[in-house]
Amino acid sequence: MRLVVASGKGGTGKTLVATNLAAVLSSEREVVLADCDVEEPNAHLFFPSEEKTLPVQTDVPLFDRSRCTQCGKCADFCQYGAIVVLKDRFMFFPEMCHGCGGCEVVCPEGAITMGKRSIGHVAFSTPRNGLVLITGVLNEREIMSPHVIRETLGYASGHPLVICDAPPGMACPVVETLEGADTCIFVTEPTPFGRHDLSLAAGVASVLGVPSGVVINRSQGDDGIILDLCRERNLPVLMTIPFDRDIAETANSGQLVTDRIPGMREQFRDLFDRACDLRRGE
């Protein structure tokens, strides 16, 4: 079973929900927490622990300059602007390359072969009994976050219970994280931005066929703006987290609310059960 915690809007509390869920569940069974927010992974801040890392590599063209005739076919083919051919030489921008290998295919001189290039890494740690944290990290300046997410999920696959902390937004990185998931929790806040982005992100989950529910964070009592949308879209509200100073201080100091605030453990346990019920259409 793979459960994704996503949001649409950034900063709504994905990591709060994902880390606390993982911590609570790890006291009763084995859990993998996969941090797929590879451009800015932060679940590890709540689970300081020694890490082991493996590199993430992507394909990249290697050029034999002695064979290149500056014909320009590779630059013409490249949809990502990674190759530019000048009169007497060419320029290659590795961080713009998506590693598709098309340049190798179209080069009439056989001047291009494919090699490997590191774009990030995956970190592994065991911060608590029963909990394995797998963190995808994309290097700065790099753009291929879906590639790093795919590898991160690959290391987690096959495990009976995987909780994913998704990236914000609703573009390729979120699609990569959501695709094939069993259930999804969207964390939102009762603001117009929260509503707008939840609406878009829930549309993505719907297209991908992933059943989803909503956690309203920073509730100050009147959540009508979100509740209206949830009714319209048939999205169940699974949990409401109050706008509370203790919760904010606990999270901001890198601690888990389920370790510090009475009643939170039970609420997150219930959240998990409700998210599982979504999967069965209950």
Binding site: A75, Y80, V85, L86, R89, M91
Partner: protein, 111 residues
Amino acid sequence: MMVCVTSKGPGPDDLAEERFGRSPYFLFRDSEGGEWSSVPNKFADAAGGVGPRAAQVLIDKGARVLITGNIGGNAHAVVQAAGIEIYLYRENGTAGDAFQKFCAGQLKKFS
């Protein structure tokens, strides 16, 4: 000497465009005179990688001078490597105005 001006429209009476890679049109004219020619930028709305691909258009057209408002790092590297000089035009005039100012030596060279 072939000069390129980034432009919001296909003619010299259209407003000059501040951005390079996402400029809707590239206008070309020889500084010694002659006709204007125009190339629509097919990368203007692309998701990414627009700078180097736009620079490739200038190289293919044999431009020696680029007049624009702003240029990104990758495109700048390509334009510089190709030996194309960059002059900055950041006023609200037309592409034709920008060209006239360049010919009169009134634009600042960007390096």
